[in-house]
Each structure stands twice: as structure tokens, then as C-alpha cells.
């Protein structure tokens, strides 16, 4: 506020002073021409006039800014100030080189250059901001809220800033071109002078304008299209590369020519360094991106939509659902192709487990069996069987028949409905938990039990029996064959044990489920009958515990699992509980249809 007031006062004072000086001159000389001579002859008057010129330029700049950009964002303003300081310092350095040509015209030209530069920066920032601001949601909301007519009208309004921006870009481009042209002609006709510097500066500004315009067009296309435009990143990278190259060439030429004609241009070192660095980065990006694209296409298998539908598929990079266009890394983690590609431009590791994919990708064989949830899809996706799978045990190999994938999912889902629901609600904490080894497709794997990994990989339909069944008696088999057989049998036994364990787990889950169910129905009784209040639960529990202790004490009691209580043994205060239990038993008995 205070700086604004001060600026206003300064502008006002300057206007007053100027009018005073002009008035005074005119009062003295009475005529136009003599008064002009009078003013130019007197140094104080000229000082006032220069100040006035400065103020006018600032005001015009403000006006233009308001016209083209409206209110500046805080970040833009900071950026502008920072860059202007550098530009002013460099201009002062340039003055030292051209101190012979120093004149008001020279200063004016530099000021103009500075202004144009600042507008280039602002335009650049604004175009970058286009990408960052959540405009798309705004349009989206409008689309939902408004009817078509209203929507069209509003969209036009929304387009206005863009029209202004494109007008500005055209204007800047035209101005740059004009100045380059004039500098070129003046250098040709009058020989090398300061115009050389301006020519180069404007040429560089022209490249910047081109860069901004291309970016602007790309962004506009991207915003207008409904779904994100995939190829945009590649276009942007290449634009950046070409413009960077042009700038480096321009700066190099400028340095050379300046060093030959005048002196070494100190003031151009910083921008030259920055452009070279930017160019180097752009080049690196392009190379990395090419490599990443190549790797994506050749090394990693696509994940089919069915497979994605079967698993809980959120891409951990963009946190969005994967429906198509996903890739599987050797470590079994699945990501969007595009997300993965942009990450591989930075690093060749798996984002989840940091496996160095370039090294492990070479053998092409997946180190771990893929999930059985997607048997058939997997078979489609991978025609060749992985070499790690011994074929011999196929005929004996049963587990996937006992444990088909679908019921498994259903069971797990039911039994742990409470816990998984909670877990998936706070998905980011479980999914991306500190244990990165957990593959994302198994988000529904049993959190409470630490569900064992799916039984061996039945990911193709049993092949036509190519290996003959071993004969019933083992005569006529070589030692190696026998050994192989033993190995196979061992493997089978292991599989079976694993299977049995799985079944055990399911049983546990079922018990848990029953328990939950019973508590739920118990509560239901309370609420419906309204008679026994909650604290009776504790009594019940105590009762049970006592009984358990009794059973423990009497050795013969442990053998028979008689119903825990006979009605005559019940103490007075536990009667209610007993009744409750009876009620519950009634509810539970399968014949009773009244129970819910």
C-alpha cells in the first residue's frame, strides 16, 4: 500500500514539475520553438523531462500489463522482479562496452528492450501457468451446471484471456521481427555498432516468442481435448530442444562477433551459460525419453484390460485407475505406460520397489509367478511359457483345481469385509505402505491373516499331455528319472501342504466371520428386546471364563465337549445371560425362519 502511494506521489510530482517547467518556458519565450530550445538548453529542465519520460514509460508499461495480463500472480511478479534485476545489471555492463555510443537514444532503446523482455517473460509465465491452473475443472463444472446455450456463452468468456494472450504473442513476434530487421539493415548500411547487440537480443527474443507460441498452441490443444493428450510431452521436449539449440547457436555467434569487433561481451556470459545448460538438459531429456520409449515397447509386457479389471488397479504414480495402457515390470508392479515412461526418463528403477529394471529386464523371465487371478489373460498375453517352469509335474499338479481363483476372491472379500473396507478407504496408507514388496494387484489379499501367496502359478491351461505318465512300478527307470520323479513328488507335496494351509486360513476366516455375525445378531437382540443391557455382556464373559477354568481343572471335563451349562447350575444373576444365549441359539438354528 505504501509503495503504491509513494509511486502515485512520485508520478504526480513529476507531472507537476513537468507542467511547471513547460509553463515557465512558454511564459518566458511565448512561442513553441524558442521554448523548446530553452528547455533543451537548461540542464535542470532536461532532468525533469527525463524523469517525466521515465514515469511515462512506467505508466505505459503498467497499462499494457493490465491490458494483456490483468492482475499479475504473486509468483509472476516475483519472477519479473528477479529477472529485471539481472537484466538491469547486464544492461549496465553492456553500457561499459558501448560507452562511446552512450546517448539518450541509446538509453531509450535499452529501456524499450527491457520492456519487451519483461513482456516476454510474463507471457512465458502465463503460458506455463495455463498448464498449472485447474481451468479444466472449471469448464467441467460449467458443463455440468449449465445448459448448452449458457455453457457456450460462458466458454466464450472464458476464451477471452486466451484471445488476448495470442494477440500479445503475435504483437511480440512482430515487434521482435521488426527490430531484428532494422538492426540488420542499420548494421549493413552503417557498419557494426550497438545495433548489433539489439539485433541479437531481439533475435533471441524472437526464438523465445516462437517457443512460447508453440507451447501455447500445444497447451490449447491439450485443454480443448477431453482426455489428456499423450504425445504432447514428446512435442514439448522436441520444441525445447530445437529452440535451445537455436539459442545456443545465436549466443555463440554473438560472442564470436562481439569478441572480434569490440571486446569480449561480459554481459552475455550469464544468459549464455543458462541457455547452454538448458540445451544440455533438453538434449538429455530427449535421449532419456527415447530410451525409455524403446524400453517400454520392447521389454515390458502389456497388461490386458481383463487382468486390470481383476485386480485393484490404481497407478501409484498418478493415483488414478488403470483401465488400459498399463505395463508390468519384471518385479510384477503395474503402472500406466505414460506414467512409467515419464518416470523412466528420470530413473530406471521401479517406483515401488526400486528394482533396477534395466538390469533385471534382460533375461526376460519374470522372477516371480504372476497372480493366478488372471489365468487366462496371462496366457493370452504371454504365448511362450517362462523357462523357469518345469513341465514335468503338470499331470500331478492339482492346486489350481482345488482352489479356483474366483471363489478365493469372494471368500477373502467377504470374510474381511470390515477390515478391507477400512483399509481400502485409507488406500494410500495401505497401498503405498512402507512395505514396498507387496505387489499392488493384491490389495485385497488378507490383511489380518497375512494371506499366503497364491499357490503355484497355474497361468496356462494344462497343456496337452506331452510327458507320459510314469509307469506304476518303477522298474525300467533310470536313476536320473527316479530322482526327477522324487523332486516332482516333493514339489507336489509342498503344493498340497500350501493348499491345505490356505484352506485352514479360509476356515479361520469363516470362524471369524461367524463370530462377527454372532456379535451382530447379539446386538440386534439387545436393540429389539431392549431388555438386557449391554453390561450383561461382561457377565456373560465372566461366566464363560469361569467355566473354562472349571473345564481346565477337571481333567475328564476336557474330553467331552458338553454344552457348557445346565439350567439348574445357573446362579441368579446369570439367568438373563442364559436366556439371552438361548434366544441367540434359537435365532441361529437353521430351521427358525423368523431369525433374520
Amino acid at each position: 500500500m505504501q509503495t503504491k502511494m509513494r509511486a502515485l506521489l512520485f508520478a504526480l510530482g513529476s507531472f507537476l514539475l513537468t507542467s511547471a517547467v513547460v509553463g515557465h518556458a512558454y511564459y518566458q519565450r511565448k512561442q513553441f520553438y524558442p521554448s523548446v530550445v530553452f528547455i533543451t538548453k537548461s540542464n535542470p529542465s532536461m532532468a525533469v523531462m527525463y524523469t517525466q519520460g521515465f514515469v511515462l514509460v512506467l505508466l505505459v508499461g503498467k497499462l499494457m500489463r493490465k491490458l494483456f495480463f490483468g492482475q499479475l500472480h504473486a509468483a509472476e511478479f516475483e519472477h519479473l522482479i528477479e529477472r529485471s534485476w539481472y537484466a538491469v545489471t547486464e544492461t549496465c555492463l553492456a553500457f561499459t562496452v558501448f560507452r562511446d555510443d552512450f546517448s539518450p537514444k541509446f538509453v531509450a532503446l535499452f529501456t524499450l528492450l527491457l520492456f519487451l523482455k519483461s513482456f516476454h517473460w510474463l507471457a512465458e509465465d502465463r503460458v506455463d501457468f495455463m498448464e498449472r491452473s485447474p481451468v479444466i475443472t472449471w469448464v467441467f463444472h460449467l458443463r455440468i451446471l449449465c445448459k448448452i446455450l449458457v455453457q457456450k456463452f460462458l466458454r466464450k468468456i472464458h476464451l477471452i484471456p486466451r484471445v488476448i494472450l495470442s494477440a500479445l504473442l503475435t504483437l511480440l513476434g512482430a515487434l521482435d521481427y521488426l527490430f531484428v530487421n532494422s538492426a540488420y539493415h542499420s548494421t549493413l548500411s552503417k557498419g557494426p555498432s550497438v545495433q548489433l547487440v539489439f539485433g541479437f537480443e531481439y533475435a533471441i527474443l524472437l526464438t523465445i516468442t516462437t517457443n512460447i507460441s508453440i507451447k501455447y498452441i500445444l497447451h490449447t490443444i491439450d485443454i480443448e481435448s477431453e482426455n489428456p493428450w499423450e504425445a504432447k510431452a514428446v512435442y514439448l521436449l522436441h520444441t525445447e530442444l530445437i529452440v535451445g539449440f537455436l539459442k545456443v547457436v545465436l549466443y555463440g555467434l554473438f560472442m564470436l562477433i562481439m569478441a572480434r569487433i569490440h571486446t569480449f561481451p561480459l554481459f552475455a556470459i550469464r544468459p549464455m551459460y543458462l541457455t547452454t545448460r538448458a540445451f544440455k538438459r533438453a538434449l538429455q531429456d530427449v535421449i532419456m525419453s527415447r530410451r525409455a520409449i524403446r524400453n517400454m515397447n520392447h521389454l515390458y509386457p502389456d497388461v490386458t484390460p481383463e487382468e486390470l479389471a481383476n485386480s485393484d488397479s490404481t497407478c501409484i504414480i498418478c493415483r488414478e485407475e488403470m483401465t488400459s495402457g498399463a505395463k508390468r515390470l519384471p518385479c510384477n508392479h503395474i503402472f500406466h505406460t505414460l506414467c512409467l515412461r515419464s518416470w523412466f526418463q528420470r530413473q530406471q528403477t521401479c517406483p515401488t520397489c526400486r528394482l533396477d529394471v534395466l538390469q533385471t529386464a534382460q533375461p526376460q523371465a519374470p522372477p516371480r509367478p504372476p497372480p493366478p487371478a488372471a489365468n487366462n489373460a496371462q496366457a493370452d498375453a504371454r504365448p511362450a511359457p517362462p523357462p523357469a517352469q518345469p513341465m514335468g509335474h503338470r499331470p500331478f499338479h492339482m492346486p489350481h483345481v482345488w482352489m479356483p481363483a474366483a471363489p478365493r476372491q469372494g471368500n477373502a472379500g467377504d470374510a474381511s469385509s470390515d477390515s478391507t473396507a477400512g483399509a481400502s478407504a485409507s488406500s494410500s496408507s495401505t497401498q503405498a505402505g512402507p512395505i514396498p514388496m507387496m505387489p499392488p494387484p493384491f490389495a485385497f489379499s488378507f490383511p489380518a491373516h497375512g494371506f499366503p501367496f497364491p499357490p503355484p502359478p497355474p497361468f496356462f491351461p494344462p497343456p496337452p499331455i506331452s510327458v507320459p505318465l510314469p509307469p506304476a512300478n518303477f522298474e525300467g527307470m533310470t536313476r536320473e528319472e527316479l530322482e526327477a520323479l522324487v523332486g516332482v513328488e516333493e514339489e507336489n507335496i509342498r503344493n498340497r501342504i500350501r493348499c491345505l494351509r490356505n484352506i485352514q486360513c479360509f476356515l479361520d476366516a469363516a470362524v471369524l466371520q461367524m463370530h462377527q455375525y454372532s456379535t451382530a445378531t447379539g446386538r440386534h437382540i439387545f436393540t429389539s428386546n431392549d431388555e438386557p443391557t449391554l453390561p450383561n455382556f461382561e457377565g456373560l464373559l465372566k461366566n464363560l471364563q469361569e467355566e473354562a477354568r472349571k473345564v481346565d481343572k477337571e481333567p475328564e471335563g476336557a474330553a467331552g465337549f458338553s454344552p457348557p451349562q445346565a439350567p439348574e447350575e445357573i446362579p441368579e444373576e446369570d439367568k438373563e445371560a442364559a436366556e439371552l444365549r438361548k434366544l441367540r441359539l434359537q435365532r441361529f438354528s437353521p430351521n427358525d425362519d423368523s431369525a433374520k
Binding site: E131, S133, I317, S342, R346, T349, R354, S428, S429, A432
Partner: protein
Amino acid sequence: MARYALRRLMAEYKQLTVNPPEGIIAGPMNEENFFEWEALITGPEDTPFEGGVFPAKLQFPSDYPLSPPKMQFTCEMFHPNIYPDGRVCISILHSPGDDPTGYESSSERWSPVQSVEKILLSVVSMLAEPNDESAANLDAAKMWRDDRQQFNQIAQKLVRHTLGLQ
């Protein structure tokens, strides 16, 4: 690039508002610019920072989930892993390329799997357990190691300061 970043930031913002972790509030400073966030972190219990509410700002790069954000406390802080100007120095905020202290293995560095929530949770645990091996504030690290009582006193003072009691 930035479009993806924006969508991911929105998703995270939604996640944080729907399901806020305990003791942490975070969100964009204004809805126009999702790339600058403000966060409030409560000091973890049973530490000298208990009870404090520490404001910080997060600045996201335009390629966000690929590069880590920067985090800076906007209040005065005295902690081995926080630079005197408030910048936070923890390993998950560094991309695997740069290593300012030379003590971090690349496995604890930034990766797109990390999120704002995890950053803030790690900052909370950093407040509870400073890592004096890779110190950003040498004075604080030295005091934390040698003169814990004074360190606690200073932390307490800062807590009272953030609560506006002093």
C-alpha cells in the same frame, strides 16, 4: 507435464481432506494454484515439540510426482534436520540424484510412490527422532547430542511461540 501433476495433487488433496491423518492439516494456499500448499503440523507427543502447531509451506515442481516438493517451515524452528531458514532436510524429499549430506541410501529417497501425507508423517517422526548424522542445523545437532536439556528448553520455547503465548 504439469497437467498430470495437477491431477495428482488434486487427488491427494481430496484424499487428505476426506481422510486426514492425525495431527496434520494440508492443502493448497489458494484453489487457483495447486502447486503451493500450506501445512500445519502438530508436534508429536512425548517430545519437546509436543503441543506445538508448526506452519510450513510446500512447493511442488511442475513434474510433481517425478520430482519431490520442497518443504519449508514458516515459523522459527530449531531442529538438527531443519535448516535455520526453515527448509526441511529429510531423505524422502531428495531425489536420488542429489545428496546434500552424503548419508542417505537411495532406497529412502523420493519416488512417485511417496505422497504429501507420507512426507508430512515423516516430518512428524523426524521431529520426534532427529537424525544427527546428517545435520542441517549443526548447532541444533550438537546441542541435541550434548545438552539435551537446553535443546528441550529451546523447543518448548518455540512451541509456546507458535501458539502465540510469547
